[in-house]
């Protein structure tokens, strides 16, 4: 067992699950989308991205690309959230919540691709 692979798989999976946890629920209901979950998703996604740095294989490059997409989507979601809560006079309305959640939904798709890659990589790994 390779500890590096364990940590890598752990963070990739955790990024996807946290993202999913935030995404699930009515899209315009702020009550079912916890901001702490979004924060955790951003942090874990960033860590997962950094873990993917410096892999020169083809699959490693695609891994990094999916992570970067997820980061982009999640950071966009947090920016929308920050705008709604801090700048906008109307606060976290249903439409703002819908924007945040749909952006995180995009990140979820990227994270799912990441998971598929992880599974493909594992399955295609042959023991000598």
């Amino acid at each position: 067992m390779n500890l590096e692979k364990v940590v890598f798989g752990f963070f990739v999976l955790l990024a996807a699950t946290l993202n999913f946890g935030f995404f699930i629920g009515d899209i315009d209901d702020p009550v079912v989308h916890n901001e702490y979950e979004l924060f955790a998703a951003v942090v874990v996604n960033l860590v997962a991205t950094v873990l993917k740095f410096g892999d020169r294989t083809q699959i490693g490059a695609v891994h990094l690309a999916t992570s970067l997409v997820a980061d982009l989507q999640l950071i966009a979601a947090t920016l929308v959230w920050a705008y709604a809560t801090q700048v906008s006079t109307e606060g976290l309305t249903a439409s703002a919540t819908a924007s945040v959640v749909s952006l995180s939904g995009g990140a979820l798709l990227a994270n799912t691709v990441s998971l598929v890659l992880l599974v493909v990589e594992t399955v295609s790994f042959r023991r000598s």
Binding site: E35, Y36, F39, V43, L46, V47, V50, L51, F53, G54, R56, T78, A82, T85, Q86
Partner: protein
């Protein structure tokens, strides 16, 4: 795999195509993976610091949002993620705007105190990791490699690959740079590549530190590059030179390869791969000295032309009367040289300290040449020539001094081994000095600068002294004491469009071409060294030589004169003036007004080259 297939396909098809077309095709040089290696090194090394930084930030922000605080009215208040991240950003970067938006409670301050130390340590770790990465040797090499690869890949003009940038390489590089030729350098020593960067070349010279024996390094240095036009293997290691020769012959069989070796065995091994030119400095020096003994003027001309642009006219060696020669040092050089002299029918006395092998060709005298008794036995007084050819510069110099003391009239040749001895040997003013690195540099220059010069030099040894003295005198009149650049003119439609109608009817003589476009009675101060037509060449053709289309001329003269001649080649009104003395306007308007047109030979329309009439009519 597909790249290899493509490369071999290109190789196969390329043989049937025009060489120029093949030259201009781009081929994938170095893989993208390799070019972006640097960024991967950075990313990989920065993993740990970045993750630690992210975690420290995450924990600090999360803590701030969880710890209860108070607003301005003393009401319980929880900091949001936005404020917490804002606070951590300015605190972690040591900017410190203070406690915003409300003054902190004790619990918050306790937490912030911890996070301040954590974040500062995290930042310091990340930044120091980045800085140490920048100073890392492996990283810098990766960076240099990427830089070099990019520079070589961008070359869009013919260049030479020089493997081994020692004395010889440096000297050659300077000559080629003066000619405006590009080259890339591969050398195993850092110091020499640093020296390359310190040198002031006109063009940018990419240099890589690497082992020339590694084909990968050669590939990066441009061996597979479509614009690579030649390979020079000039390292001081025979095996490395052999490896470069092999790699070049296998990878690019069509490229000319010039290399050096002192050993005939290695030279033979090199010859089995393709057809490289192997320069043996001892051999070449022997040839030179024999030529100098036989015909000193031809030798002077040859040396001058070989030394390259900017070289001062070498002194004419005064050949000694035939007689006995003494060769001190009977090693590889001594044996070679003795054989050369004997083949000229000269008597040779060789002196060597140790008889290495009694079977093969022992020296005439065994003993230390610096010993006066040994010198006495060699009998310097009755000799005409003396060669100090040991592998030790100090010994060679003392031998020369001793020989001159005994017999001041001797012709003295010496071998210089170390470059740092050069000023001392120069001060001794020996009649012939062997500097192996110079010999190789001059020979390689003569072979690669232009094929016409090499052709000229090969024709030289058969010529007589009188002719050579004449050429040297003409060169001195045209160039002065320092040789100007030699250049080539091809009388083709591309290079000399104005001349083609005249050449096609056979109406242009060399003497007419070399008249001044300003005043046809004044000849241009140029020396036509050689005309090459097909496979035949004429050395120093006379003024009545009839030129034909496709001829190649090798000319020597000052750059200003070269520009005048180039005007003649492209302005279509000039050849008529030079041949007949009739001035023809070169502009359309003036031709209309004066009614004079260039006399176009039958069947060929007059070619018009857009030039204002002013610059040709003065």
């Amino acid at each position: 795999m597909s790249r290899g297939l493509r490369a071999s396909l290109r190789h196969l098809t390329g043989r049937d195509q025009q060489p120029e077309f093949r030259m201009r095709r781009r081929s994938p040089l170095v893989t993208g993976v390799q070019a972006s290696a640097t960024i991967f090194v950075i990313l990989r090394r920065m993993r740990a610091p970045l993750i630690i930084l992210i975690l420290i930030f995450a924990v600090s922000v999360l803590g701030l949002t969880l710890i209860p605080g108070q607003d301005a009215n003393g009401q319980p208040w929880h900091m949001g993620f936005f404020d917490a991240f804002y606070f951590m950003s300015y605190t972690a970067t040591t900017i410190g705007f203070g406690e915003l938006p409300y003054p902190f409670t004790g619990a918050q301050r306790l937490w912030v105190m911890g996070t301040i130390y954590l974040t500062v340590v995290g930042w310091a770790y990340a930044i120091s990791a980045l800085l140490s990465l920048l100073q890392d040797r492996a990283f810098r090499q990766a960076l240099a490699l990427q830089h070099f690869t990019r520079k070589v890949g961008r070359l869009r003009e013919p260049f030479l690959l020089i493997a081994g940038y020692g004395q010889t390489g440096e000297q050659l590089g300077k000559s080629f740079d003066t000619l405006g030729r590009r080259f890339t350098v591969l050398d195993i020593a850092d110091a020499r590549i640093d020296a390359l960067e310190m040198n002031t070349h006109r063009a940018d010279v990419p240099g890589l530190v690497g082992d020339a024996r590694d084909p990968h390094n050669l590939e990066i240095a441009g061996l597979g590059h479509p614009w690579c036009e030649g390979v020079l293997a000039l390292t001081d290691d025979d095996e490395a030179n052999l490896a470069v020769t092999m790699a070049a012959a296998l990878r690019r069989p069509e490229l000319p390869v010039v290399t050096r070796s002192l050993s005939p065995v290695v030279a033979g091994r090199m010859q089995t791969f393709g057809d490289p030119t192997v320069i043996n400095p001892f051999d070449r020096f022997g040839d030179h000295l024999r030529l100098a003994l036989r015909s000193p003027d031809v030798h002077q001309l040859m040396t001058w032309l070989e030394n390259g642009p900017g070289a001062e006219r070498p002194a004419r060696a005064s050949a000694p009367a035939p007689g006995r020669w003494i060769v001190c040092g009977y090693g590889r050089f001594g044996r070679h040289f003795t054989a050369d002299l004997r083949s000229e029918g000269l008597e040779v006395t060789s002196v060597e300290q140790h008889a290495s092998n009694p079977d093969d060709d022992p020296p005439s005298i065994i003993g230390d040449a610096t010993d006066p008794d040994v010198m006495e036995r060699a009998d310097l007084r009755t000799a005409v020539g003396f060669v100090a050819g040991t592998e030790n510069d100090t010994t060679n110099m003392s031998l020369v001094a001793e020989a001159r003391r005994i017999n001041p009239g001797l012709f003295v040749a010496a071998r210089q081994n170390q470059p740092r001895s050069a000023p001392l040997f120069a001060a001794m003013e020996v009649d012939a000095l062997l500097v192996p690195t110079d010999v190789v540099a001059h020979d390689a220059y003569a072979q690669l600068s232009t094929p016409l010069l090499w052709r000229f030099l090969r024709e030289l040894p058969g010529r007589d002294d009188e002719w050579a003295a004449g050429v040297v005198a003409r060169l001195t009149r045209a160039c002065g004491r320092r040789l100007e650049e030699l250049w080539k003119v091809r009388l083709t439609l591309e290079e000399a469009p104005a001349l083609v109608p005249w050449l096609d009817v056979g109406a242009l003589r060399l003497g007419d071409l070399l008249r001044s476009p300003a005043d046809r009675d004044a000849p241009l101060p140029l020396v036509p060294l050689l005309v090459l037509r097909g496979d035949e060449c004429v050395l120093t053709p006379g003024g009545d030589f009839l030129l034909a289309a496709g001829d190649q001329l090798l000319l020597a003269g000052r750059p200003a004169v070269r520009r005048q001649l180039e005007t003649t080649l492209v302005v279509d009104a000039l050849p008529e003036y030079l041949v007949t003395g009739r001035r023809v306007p070169s502009g359309w308007v003036w031709r209309r007004l004066t009614g004079r047109h260039p006399a176009a030979p039958p069947g060929l329309p007059a070619r018009s080259v857009g030039r204002s009439s002013g610059d040709t009519r003065q």
